[in-house]
Structures are given as structure tokens and as C-alpha cells.
């Protein structure tokens, strides 16, 4: 507070550092910096002494040493114990991303369904979903994971007595065995036709929009696009001579051969994370749809739009604006919760780098830093994308 009398106080310079608002803010910041750097310096010093005492050195060289442990689930890149720790970490990271990706899809489907059922006028189904939601949300996710995994482990039979679903799918406590597709020559044509179908649909939509703008005629865009997307690839598939065969699982000895085996750890983790997150998504969806005032629906009916066009053109676009930000943070939560994989022995990035690699090399500092940076990187990328998306979707007000 600079008053005319400030000049008279000139001798008391130190007091002015505290009394004057601008000086004070600078003083506080300088003190904070000094304290911070002192603490950081002390920590750095302690780390150096402690490491020296323990006879370790700070280096990331261990990442290039052979890992020496096996990873039971490696669907994307091949890995053997002679590979480096980096590769082991990469396999773990891909496993994390796999759970996150499949979890997000399943959670969205379940969550949107439950959210809409919660708005249903049917009292009974409304209450059933409500009870399920409340119960699931108020129980720790780790318990859900252990519980689902426990069900697989204790109630499913051993591979020899696996539950047989019409000789195609086998359920056992070592994994689920399903038929695997084997791509043969000529499957490329099918892929090309799928892309062509997507392109056609894209241009058809633009053309239909143009027709509607000029003449007012509305084509059933959804059904026609759906038909194009399904039948064009199917047609190509048969013309190319069905270039796809199916590898069936069959019991040989103590385990299954052929087909794909899906590990129970993966299924338990994905399933538990999905339905746990879906409960939060359901509440978000319900809140978002309820946030759209009834006047919007009535106005759109008043303009002569049919109920499905109202939903599609008026309610959903507005509800999405409310739904998307919290939805994204739920997706982030799911990704972070996938780190609980270590509790049931699913080899994700925490279990590989932060678990076995740490145990074997004794490099606590380095492995933890790698792990934290990995997660930070993904979180920041996703939240940057979220912010961009939010800005794009934000209401443009006059």
C-alpha cells in the first residue's frame, strides 16, 4: 500500500519488504524458492550418500540387461526371458494398454446401457439397476478384481474338465479357449473393401446432407450406411473365395492346443474394471441426459421433428457436452486402476518394471522413475486431448 508517507518510512527497508503488497509477494516467492531448493539439495545429497552406502550407482544401464523372467501373457510382441528389461517393460505396457482399451469399450457399452435403464419408466428395472450401481460403486475396485478372479479360480474346472460350449469355446481356470481366425491369401481384398465401404458411407452422408439442404428430402442415412458397411465386405469375402479359416481349440493331454487362449487374469481384470467404471459412467450419462431441460424436447417436437430425430439432433448433442468431460476422467481412472493388475498376477507395466525387474536388479530409484514417467506421459497426453476436445465442443455463446 503505497501512501504518500511511504517516503518517510524509507529507513525501515526491511519492514517495507513485508508491508508493501508487491514487495511482499516477491519476498514470499524468494523465500519459497530458497526453501524448495534447500530441501531438494538435501534430498539429492541424501540420495547420493544412501546410494553410496548401499553400494549402488544411479544409472539406467540395467534396462539393456537380459530380464531373465517369463511373461505368460504377450499377445502383441514376442518376448523370451533372454530379452532385455526394456522389452519386458514394453510387453507390460502393451498389456496395460490392452486392458485399458478393451475396458474402456466394455465400460462405455455397459455404462450407457445402465444409465439409460436408470431413466426408464419401468419401476422394477430402474430399481434393480439402482441397487446394483450403489452396491458396486461403494465397494473397492480391488475387491471386485479379487472377487471376479476368485470366481474364475475356484469355480471353473481344470482344463481337462473344461466347460464345453458346443465344442467351440472352452472355459477352464487356466483360461478361456476360443476359435482363432487364420487369415489366408486374398484377405487383403476384404480389408480393402471395408475401407472402400467406409469411404462410400462418408461421401453418401455428405451427399444426403446436401440433398436435404437443397430439397428437404431426408434419406434413411443410418440404415443405408449400415447396409453398405455390412454387405460390401461380405460380398467381397465370398467373391474372393472365403479366405478365412478357423482354428479350433482341442484338448491334447493336459492343456488345449490351437485356437486362442485368453488368460483368466486378463478377463477378470478387464471385466471387473469395466463394470466398476460402468457404474460411474451410468450416473454421468443419467445426469447428462437429465440436464437437458424438457423445453428442448418440446421445442423440437413443436418444430415437427419426430422423436428419434429429436433425440439425434437436439438431446444427444447437448447431453454429450455435459457427459464428455467427466466421461474422459473416468476413462483415465480406468487406465490408472489397471495398475491393480499386480494383485492377481497379470503382467502389466507395474508388475514387470515395478515388480520383477525391481526385485531382480534392486534399482528402486530408476525403475520407479521409469514407471512414474510412463504413467505421467499417458495421463498428460490424454488430458491434453481432453482439453482440446472440450474447447471444440464448448458452447459458443454470443
Amino acid at each position: 500500500m503505497s501512501t504518500p508517507s511511504a517516503k518517510e518510512n524509507k529507513p525501515l527497508l526491511l519492514i517495507r519488504l513485508w508491508r508493501n503488497q508487491e514487495y511482499r509477494s516477491i519476498t514470499i516467492q524468494i523465500i519459497t524458492m530458497v526453501v524448495l531448493f534447500t530441501i531438494l539439495g538435501m534430498i539429492g545429497n541424501n540420495v547420493a550418500t544412501n546410494l553410496e552406502k548401499a553400494g549402488k550407482e544411479f544409472s539406467f544401464g540395467f534396462l539393456n540387461y537380459p530380464a531373465g523372467y517369463d511373461i505368460t501373457f504377450q499377445p502383441f510382441i514376442s518376448y523370451s526371458p533372454t530379452d532385455t528389461h526394456t522389452r519386458a517393460g514394453l510387453v507390460g505396457l502393451l498389456n496395460t494398454l490392452l486392458v485399458a482399451f478393451s475396458g474402456v469399450i466394455i465400460a462405455s457399452i455397459l455404462g450407457f446401457t445402465m444409465g439409460i435403464l436408470r431413466l426408464s419408466s419401468n419401476w422394477l428395472i430402474n430399481k434393480i439397476v439402482y441397487v446394483f450401481l450403489e452396491f458396486t460403486r461403494n465397494v473397492p475396485v480391488l475387491l471386485h478384481i479379487l472377487f471376479v478372479y476368485g470366481i474364475f479360480l475356484y469355480t471353473l474346472p481344470v482344463p481337462k474338465k473344461a466347460i464345453n460350449i458346443s465344442d467351440t469355446v472352452f472355459l477352464s481356470n487356466r483360461g478361456f479357449y476360443t476359435p482363432a481366425p487364420v487369415f489366408e491369401d486374398g484377405f487383403g481384398y476384404v480389408l480393402i473393401s471395408i475401407m472402400a465401404a467406409i469411404l462410400i458411407v462418408f461421401f453418401f452422408k455428405r451427399w444426403a446432407r446436401k440433398v436435404q439442404d437443397t430439397t428437404g428430402r431426408i434419406y434413411p442415412v443410418f440404415y443405408i450406411s449400415f447396409a453398405i458397411l455390412i454387405f460390401l465386405p461380405l460380398f467381397t469375402f465370398f467373391v474372393a473365395g472365403s479366405p478365412l479359416s478357423i482354428d479350433m481349440p482341442a484338448l491334447k493331454g493336459f492343456n488345449f492346443k490351437g485356437g486362442t487362449s485368453i488368460k483368466p487374469e486378463y478377463i477378470a481384470l478387464t471385466f471387473a474394471l469395466s463394470y466398476y467404471t460402468a457404474c460411474f459412467i451410468a450416473e454421468i450419462v443419467r445426469g447428462g441426459i437429465l440436464a437437458i431441460s424438457k423445453g428442448q424436447t418440446e421445442a423440437s417436437h413443436g418444430l415437427g421433428l419426430k422423436p428419434n430425430r429429436t433425440l439425434q439432433l437436439v438431446v444427444v448433442p447437448q447431453a454429450l457436452r455435459v457427459i464428455i468431460p467427466p466421461l474422459c476422467s473416468q476413462y483415465l481412472n480406468l487406465t490408472k486402476n489397471s495398475s491393480l493388475a499386480i494383485a492377481i498376477g497379470y503382467m502389466d507395466v507395474v508388475a514387470t518394471i515395478g515388480g520383477i525387474t525391481l526385485m531382480q536388479t534392486g534399482k528402486e530409484m530408476e525403475t520407479m522413475i521409469v514407471l512414474l514417467i510412463t504413467y505421467l506421459f499417458f495421463s498428460l497426453v490424454i488430458s491434453a486431448f481432453m482439453n482440446w476436445f472440450n474447447r471444440k465442443m464448448a458452447l459458443v455463446e454470443r
Binding site: I28, V139, L340, V350
Partner: protein, 374 residues
């Protein structure tokens, strides 16, 4: 027709209309809420079938066929028509003291009991606004964590108990209560720091909050259990429980800070200006004007964060601390009782459900009470 209108109502001449459709009563309610359209009829029938296949067998298992006293799994199964036909709650009963006290020495368990009672007494002034002499009650509540810490750990005249022996409900409550009571003030300070006009403070707070929110709690717990000791002067022994408590508190306070920031941003600029024009300092204005309003808005978010924190305390089992869920999980390894996972998980789930559901109901009550409306 015309003449009757002029004359008004003529007795005995009214038209014979059918009675109106019932809008009250059970049948009318069912018609409106369960069978209003073909789709709804299908949904209702499906749900009834679903409930019918789920609920009776569950109650048969959990209540009618359950066994409450047995020495081990075999004794339990011998009392049933077939193994697994009913729940073996005897397992829980057998482990109840382990579930409550963990491995706390038996002759000292009165200290845990005393702190449970003191905990309930400390909750009353916080939750119940009309309590007489609430001011003194709140002072007691704010020093309770320290008294309980002294009681449980010992020292200063009490026999010392190693924190390795903590476990069960007691450990869950220690983690939850400490996290909740310390993360709120730290969260408020972080939120204010993030809004501050001083760039150094602001950047520090943003970095801290974004770092904590960007990584999963389990990695922070790993940091606490493996890496944190390197940060301390050589030779210092820093208790694992204390390290975990610090991490859990910091984790929750970053989330609390974001919730409160939302509340602060919702406060109009006029409120700040009003405080300035009254001649209030920064802290006075925040204590008397800004924070009461901001906190009121953020109550649902704060309680949600608390519930999340309370549920997340189960993660300590991964770094080898035996909380409520950890004790349950460890009990499953006992050969005498192996395979009774459902009983254990249902028991632990019920415990968490009751505490978390209670918290969320209380937050709804508080929200309604504080909603002054305008």
C-alpha cells in the same frame, strides 16, 4: 340440449359416462410403472425372472443353509447337505478378532477398543451440528488423531507396539481417517496456491497436483515402500505405515485441491471485491467470505473424493500391509479354510458398502441442509 344448458344441471338428466380410469391404488400404479407398453411388459417379466433366479438361491445359501459355528472347513461342510450348499460364516466368526485388530498384541487390545470409542465420540461433533458445546467437541475432534496415534503406537508411558502388527479394520480406519482429516486442509492450501497471483507458488502447486493426479496410487505406494528411504538422511528409520500415510494423504489432497478449485472458480469476482472494500486481508476475506461459499459448493465432490480415498486404502495390501481386505485375502491361504472366498469377499464388501454408503447419504443430507436456495 340448448334449454338444459341454460337451466344448468337437471337432476337425473346427466349422460351415462363410463367411470374414469383409476389413477390410484396398486393396480393403477402397476399399470403405469410396470406395464405401460409392450416393451415395458417384456422388461418387467424379464426382471422378475432375473430376481427369481438370483434372490431365493442367494438367501438359501447365505441364510437358511448357512453354518455359524465350526472349527474348520470340513466341520462346516459336514453340517450341510452337500459341501458349499450354504455359507460358512463360522470362518468369519473364527477370524473376527483378526479382522478387527490385525496382529495387535492381545493384552493391549483395550487400547484399540478405547480408540474406537474415542473415534465415535470424535465423529459426533463433526457430523451433528446441534450438539451442545459443539465448539469444545470440535477441539477434541481435531486433536483426536494425535491421541489415537499415541494410544495405538505407544511410547510416553505406554508399551510400544510395532506398526507391523497393525491390521484389519483398525488399519483401514487409521488410513482412512488420517487421509481424510489431513487431506482437506492441505487440499485447500493447494487450491488457493493454484489460484494465487504469485507465479512461483502457482507453478509449484500446479506441478504437484498434476504429477499426483497423473500417476496411479499404487505406484506412489511403491515409491513409499521402496524409494522414499533414499530421500532421508542416512540411518533414519522411517516407519512404513507413516510413509504410506503421507503418500495417501498427499494423493487425496491433490484431488481435493482440484474439487475445491472448481468451487473457488464458481465464486463471483464481486465477492472478492466486496471483501477488499471492507478492508479485509487476503486470509480474512478467504476465511469469512470466499471459502465458506466455495466449500459449500464443493461438498459433493469432496465427499466423493473421501469415499474414493477410503476405498483406495485397500491398495496397501499390494505392498504387504494387511488391512481389512488384506486379512481376508491372507485368510484364504489357510489350508483349514481354503476355498471359502465368497464368504470373505461378501463380508469385506459389506463392511465397505456400509461405510461408503453412509458417507454418501450424509453428504446428500448436508447438501440439502446447506442449500439456502435463491
Amino acid at each position: 340440449m340448448n334449454s338444459s344448458l341454460e337451466k344448468g344441471y337437471v337432476p337425473g338428466k346427466h349422460p351415462n359416462l363410463p367411470p374414469p380410469v383409476k389413477t390410484t391404488g396398486i393396480m393403477a400404479w402397476a399399470k403405469q410403472n410396470l406395464f405401460s407398453s409392450p416393451m415395458n411388459i417384456v422388461l418387467t417379466l424379464l426382471s422378475v425372472w432375473f430376481l427369481w433366479t438370483i434372490i431365493p438361491p442367494f438367501f438359501e445359501w447365505a441364510a437358511f443353509n448357512s453354518i455359524w459355528t465350526a472349527g474348520n472347513r470340513q466341520e462346516c461342510w459336514d453340517q450341510m447337505s452337500s459341501p458349499g450348499a450354504g455359507a460358512c460364516w463360522a470362518f468369519i466368526e473364527n477370524r473376527l478378532s483378526l479382522f478387527t485388530y490385525g496382529f495387535y498384541p492381545t493384552h493391549l487390545q483395550w487400547r484399540v477398543n478405547l480408540s474406537f470409542i474415542m473415534f465415535v465420540l470424535a465423529l459426533i461433533p463433526v457430523l451433528y451440528e446441534k450438539m451442545p458445546y459443539r465448539k469444545y467437541g470440535l477441539i477434541y475432534s481435531s486433536i483426536f488423531p494425535f491421541i489415537a496415534g499415541w494410544l495405538l503406537v505407544g511410547g510416553f508411558g505406554l508399551e510400544k507396539v510395532d506398526t507391523d502388527q497393525f491390521g484389519g479394520i483398525m488399519l483401514t480406519l487409521i488410513l482412512g481417517v488420517t487421509g481424510i482429516s489431513f487431506s482437506l486442509p492441505i487440499g485447500i492450501i493447494l487450491a488457493l496456491g493454484r489460484q494465487s497471483k504469485m507465479p512461483v507458488l502457482r507453478i509449484l502447486c500446479v506441478l504437484f497436483i498434476e504429477f499426483i493426479r497423473g500417476v496411479p496410487l499404487i505406484t506412489l505406494l511403491f515409491v513409499a515402500s521402496t524409494m522414499l528411504n533414499y530421500f532421508l538422511p542416512p540411518g533414519t528409520v522411517f516407519d512404513l505405515l507413516l510413509r504410506v500415510l503421507i503418500m495417501v494423504t498427499l494423493f487425496a489432497s491433490a484431488y481435493i485441491a482440484e474439487v475445491i478449485r472448481g468451487g473457488l472458480q464458481a465464486i463471483k469476482k464481486g465477492q472478492h471485491e466486496a471483501g477488499d472494500s471492507l478492508g479485509l486481508t487476503y486470509w480474512q476475506a478467504h476465511r469469512l467470505i470466499i471459502l465458506p461459499q466455495a466449500l459449500k459448493i464443493s461438498i459433493p465432490g469432496i465427499v466423493n473424493t473421501f469415499i474414493g480415498l477410503y476405498k483406495d486404502t485397500t491398495l496397501v495390501l499390494i505392498i504387504g500391509m494387511l488391512d481389512m481386505l488384506g486379512i481376508g485375502d491372507a485368510s484364504l491361504a489357510d489350508a483349514q479354510w481354503a476355498g471359502l472366498a465368497n464368504e470373505i469377499y461378501i463380508f469385506v464388501a459389506l463392511f465397505f458398502f456400509i461405510s461408503c454408503f453412509g458417507m454418501s447419504r450424509y453428504s446428500i443430507y448436508l447438501e440439502k441442509k446447506l442449500h439456502t436456495g435463491y
